[in-house]
Every structure is written in C-alpha cells, then in structure tokens.
C-alpha cells in the first residue's frame, strides 16, 4: 500500500507529461497516437529493439549512478561524460598495449583500466574541492571538455586506425572483448556487471555504515561533522566513486560495443544521466528503473525520427516534463 502511495505522484507525473507533450506534438501537426506507439513499443516489439534498449540502458544506468552517488553526499558531479571518456581511454590503452594477453587476464585489465581512469578523472575535481574549496560543479564540467580533446588526441595519435575515416583507434586485443550473452543481435555481458554495480550501490548507501556516513553528510554536513564524520573526505570519496562508475561505462563501450575507442562515443549520455538522477531525486534504488524507462523512450524516439520524421529531441520534451512534474509533486507534498 505504501509503495502504491509513494509511486502515485510519479505515475501521475509521467501521465501528465505524456498528455502535455502529446498536445504539443499534435499542435506541430504530427500523429500523436502513432508517435507514442512508436516511442513506447519499439523496445518491446522486436528482439532487436529490446536489445537496443538494454545496450542503451547500461551506460545510462552507470552515468546516472555517477551523478547520484556524489549527490548522496550532497555533491554535484556533472563530469560523468569526461569520466566515461577517461574510462574509455584507460580501457582502450590496456586493450591495445596488452593485446596479446588471454581473455582471462585482459578482460579484468581492460575493465580495471577504465574504472581507475574514471576514478582519477573524478579525483582531480574532488581534490580541488578538498584542498582549495573550488565548486565541484565547475571543475567536473571543465574536465568534460578536457577529456573531449584528450580522446580526440588519443584517437588521432599513435594508436590511430588509418583505415577509418572518423578518429578512432585500432581494435583492442581479441582477449579484451566482453563475452557476448547473445550473439545476434549482439548483447555484451557488461549489463550483468552494471546491474550488480547498481545493486551494490544501493546496498552500500542504504545498508552499510560507510554508506550511512555518505547519506548523513548529504543530509546535513554540519550535523554529520559534529558527530565525527569527516565530511570533506566523504565528498572526495563520493566523487571518486562516481568517477569510477562512469569509467566503467566507458570501459563497457570500448570492450563491449565498439572494441575500440571512437571520438564522440559519449553521445548524449551526460544529459540523460543527469535527468535520470534528477527524476530519481537522488534515490539510488530508483535509478535503475528510471534509467530503463528513459532507455525505452530514447530507443523509441530514434525509431520515431526514422519512420515519422519527428525530431528525436521531441522525446526530450516528455523527459523534461516528467522531471518538472516530479519536482513539482515534491512541492505539493510538502504543503
């Protein structure tokens, strides 16, 4: 009963945003029902669509967690994209340098390379916050841009694949490819690890002492400090953890999907990760469900652009409205 009561505002928010966006789509002169049918059911109509959705779900879930883990401690990590790219670079570096290793060694190496690179990319802003008290929103964003040019550099540098038109590196060693769960259409096993990470994050933040310290820091840093929690260290820890999770997403893109580093592979994951985190209102347990919903919408939206010539960004109106209504439902509840 409480679950129904708790999720009711969300359901209302989703329905309201679909109705509001539907009016807008109709005003633009498109067929609303056909558009929504495509958006909502593309993922479930064919196996291919469903696997597309799962493939999208993995980076979205991880990038949303990269935002919500620091948010648990009251810090805003807008650098998920940069951390993901750093992770991609780390993973590709391992996969190319140790290309001859067997899978049993190379896969962990590639994943670790990604996680560590992502964590380092989160560590620098965290350190700047710890040492100089520089606002983390600013530094994490700036590190996105630095990573963006770094990935371009790596993709045009010595590892460049001369055969490719777009800046890309050569393939990583065959041993570094993630095993496939399904071969055709391809679904890599990273999704299992991603879900495990999500469960781990949830347990960590809601069931362990360390996680509780994070939550306490986020809820009221002053009170937490009085009770002996080293809040500034908690800030650093949360940002580094967030970076590591984003780095994992980068490693998966390299080891699971592309098997190489590609300039521009980050897509719009950052914005979507942000909106998932905000719709979940920082609740780590809600993130996987919201991430899946957004993945469904995104896959449906690109199908809609292909078949109905409605711009993909239209779905973003739906997403933005969901966020708005969820935030507003908070205000209503407070009153």
């Amino acid at each position: 009963m409480t679950i129904v009561k708790k999720s009711l505002p969300y359901l209302l928010a989703v329905v309201a945003s679909f109705v509001a966006a539907g009016i807008f789509i109709a005003l633009m002169g498109f067929d609303v029902f056909k558009a929504y049918q495509t958006i909502l059911f593309t993922s479930f109509r064919t196996p291919n669509g469903f696997i597309q959705t799962l493939l999208k779900f993995v980076p979205l879930l991880l990038l949303a967690l990269a935002f919500t883990i620091p948010l648990t401690a009251g810090k805003f990590n807008i650098g998920g994209e940069g951390q993901m790219m750093a992770g991609g670079i780390g993973a590709a570096a391992m996969g190319i340098m140790f290309a001859d290793l067997p899978a049993i060694l190379l896969i962990p190496l590639v994943i670790l390379g990604g996680v560590i690179a992502g964590a380092l990319w989160g560590l620098v802003p965290a350190w700047l916050l710890y040492k100089f008290n520089i606002n983390e929103i600013l530094t994490t964003v700036l590190f996105n841009f630095i990573a963006f040019f770094l990935i371009d550099y790596v993709c045009t540098g010595p590892w460049r694949d001369p055969a490719a038109g777009h800046p890309t590196t050569v393939l990583i060693g065959r041993g570094g490819w993630l095993p496939m769960l399904i071969n055709n259409p391809p679904l890599h096993s990273g999704i299992i690890l991603a879900v495990l990470v999500a469960i781990g994050v949830y347990i960590y933040t809601s069931r362990t002492t360390g996680g509780y310290e994070l939550v306490a820091t986020g809820a009221n840093p002053r009170a937490a400090g009085v009770f002996g929690i080293k809040t500034r260290r908690m800030f650093v820890l949360s940002l580094v953890l967030g970076g590591a999770v984003a780095g994992l997403a980068g490693a998966f893109e390299v080891a699971g999907n592309q098997h190489r580093l590609i300039e521009g592979m980050q897509s719009n994951f950052l914005q979507l990760g942000l909106i998932i985190g905000l719709i979940s209102r920082g609740n780590n347990g809600a993130v996987p469900f919201v991430a899946f919903m957004i993945a469904v919408l995104e896959v449906g939206a690109s199908a809609m652009q292909r078949t109905m010539m409605i711009p993909v960004e239209m779905v973003f109106i739906v997403e933005a409205l969901i966020l708005l209504f969820v935030l507003l439902s908070d205000v209503v509840r407070r009153k």
């Binding site: 700047l128 700036l142 205000v331």
Partner: protein, 310 residues
C-alpha cells in the same frame, strides 16, 4: 608586427562579449543569493532563438530582443522555483540547463527541418565611432567594434554604478548577504531576487545570441563550447563585482583567442592540447583566486521568512 598586436587585441575585445554578458548576468543573480548554473543551456537557447528570429525576420535587432526574452523566461523560471517554491538551486539550475540544451537543438530542427546546410544570417558589422576610431593603436582596438562590444562595456559600468553607488543597489546586495536583515529593514527580498534573476537571464540570453551573430552566422549544436560554465568561473574570478568581471573576461577571452591563433599558425604542440588550454587555464586560475574570492554570503541559499533562523 604592430598590426598583429592590434588584430589580436581587437579579437580579444570582440570575443570578450559573451563572457562579459554571461558573467554579469550570473553576478547579478548571485548578488541576491540565486546561484544560476543553467548558463550553458540559457546561452544555447539565446543563440538558437536569436539565430532563428534573425533569419526569419531579417532583423538582427529583433533576434537580439527575442533572445533576451527567452533568457528572461529562464530567469523567471529559476526565480520562481527557487525563491517562491524554495527548491534546491542546483537541481533547478541543472534541470534548466538540460531543458535549454534540448530546446536549442529541437527548435531549429522543427522550424528549419533536418538539413545538412543550415542557412546563414548576416553577422554584426563593426561600427567605427567617428573621431575616436582615428586614434592610432587604441582607435581600431576599442572604437571599431560591433555594437554589442560597446553595450557589454556600458552594461558593466552601469551595473557597477547601480550596485555600488545607488540605494537600490545597496539594498539588492544586502539581500544576497543577509536576507533576514534586509527583510527586517523592509526590503522586499522576493521582488529583488526575481528582478535580479530575470535581468541576469536577459544578459545571459544576449550572451548566447552573440555567438551566431558574430562568429558563425548560424546556429550549431553545442556552439557555446562551455562558455556558460566558464562564465561561472569568471564570476568567481571577478569576486562577483561588475568591473573585475569585465577585466577578467578580457583575460578569459585572450586565452581563447590565443589558443585559436596558435592552432592556426601551428606549433609543436598537438592542436588538441591547445584546445584544452582555456579549460585548464580556467582551473589553474581558480586555484589561484578561489580562496580569496569574495562571494555573496547567502549565495546558493533560499530565504524562507517564516523560518526562525537561516
């Protein structure tokens, strides 16, 4: 050699405008305690809307006005959610950033259709000021610029005068320092926060509109390239004061122009490293200045007059 220096300085002044306007907009909101982090999205909307309106109406002036109105709308939303509904400023700011990012790409796609060759608008002409532009060296740098360069400098000076030389300005600043006291003195803190955020939003929208009107002649996705975020850094760098922000933006713009220039001339460094330079330099600057930065006391907080303490 002399002409290259003149050229360089002219370009620095030309590229300073988005920084100045976005920085002053951020500062104005912050002076009443509203910490805006949606600049990047707001600038993109300003750029997108400004470009579209200029293209269809054929009037850059109209484009500028509509871009400012769109910025004002975002400012109003920010003020409403934070000041009236007392919601977390960063959450709302990020949500607005997201919305701005989406709207800015959606609008051209809806209106122009999905095209590979976007249409162009004429870029702003430079307006030489008679007599003054004849002064050697200084003339071509300072007085042969487009109108928004002059506007941005005047806005900065005007804001300085308003904030530090008028009664209303003092009241506005007091809202951002300690709203409880301001409130007890009969200052309408809500109204102050609304107006400062809305006018700040206008300036940020104008900063965005400058990009297609001066650089590219068209709108491209994500064309702000992080300038909105750099503007926040600039505001801290300038200690949330109009004139230091104006000087600081010269510095930010010089780095940008320099990185671009060196890239064109070519150097021993890979071009990607040069492109990173503005962002790295910003972080270094922040390390050097952040600790000493004067920040409005109530920055990032919402004031609830019905609560007993802040």
């Amino acid at each position: 050699m002399d002409t290259t220096i003149i050229d360089f300085l002219r370009l620095v002044l030309l590229s300073m405008v988005p920084f100045v306007l976005a920085g002053q907009g951020t500062m104005l909101g912050g002076r009443t305690g509203v910490f805006n982090v949606a600049q990047e999205g707001m600038m993109l909307v300003g750029a997108s809307v400004g470009f579209l309106v200029s293209f269809y109406s054929g009037s850059i002036f109209l484009g500028v006005i509509v871009a400012m109105l769109s910025g004002a709308l975002f400012g109003l939303a920010l003020a409403y959610f934070t000041t009236s509904l007392k919601m977390n400023q960063f959450v709302i700011g990020l949500a607005l950033f997201f919305i701005g990012l989406g709207v800015s790409t959606l609008l051209p796609k809806l209106i122009l259709g999905i095209t590979l060759t976007p249409p162009l608008i004429p870029t702003l002409k430079s307006i030489p000021i008679p007599l003054l532009s004849q002064i050697p060296f200084i003339g071509p740098i300072l007085f042969k610029q487009n109108i928004l360069v002059y506007v941005s400098i005047l806005v900065s000076i005007g804001l300085w005068y308003f904030l530090f030389r008028t009664q209303k300005g003092l009241e506005l600043r007091s809202v951002g320092e300690y709203p409880m006291t301001a409130d007890s003195l009969g200052i309408n803190t809500t109204k102050m926060r609304y107006w400062s955020t809305i006018i700040g939003g206008m300036l940020i929208g104008l900063a965005g509109a400058y990009l297609p009107m001066v650089y590219a002649g068209t709108f491209t996705e994500g064309m702000t390239m992080g300038r909105g975020w750099l503007a926040i850094a600039l505001t801290f760098f300038g200690g949330w004061s109009p004139l230091p922000i104006l000087y600081g933006s010269l510095f930010f713009s010089a780095i940008e122009v320099l990185a671009f220039r060196v890239q064109v001339i070519g150097s021993f460094l890979p071009y990607q490293i040069l492109q990173m330079f503005p962002y790295v330099a910003t972080i270094l600057v922040m390390i050097l200045t952040f600790k000493r930065a004067r920040v409005p006391g109530f920055l990032g907080n919402n004031y609830d007059r019905e609560k007993r303490s802040l």
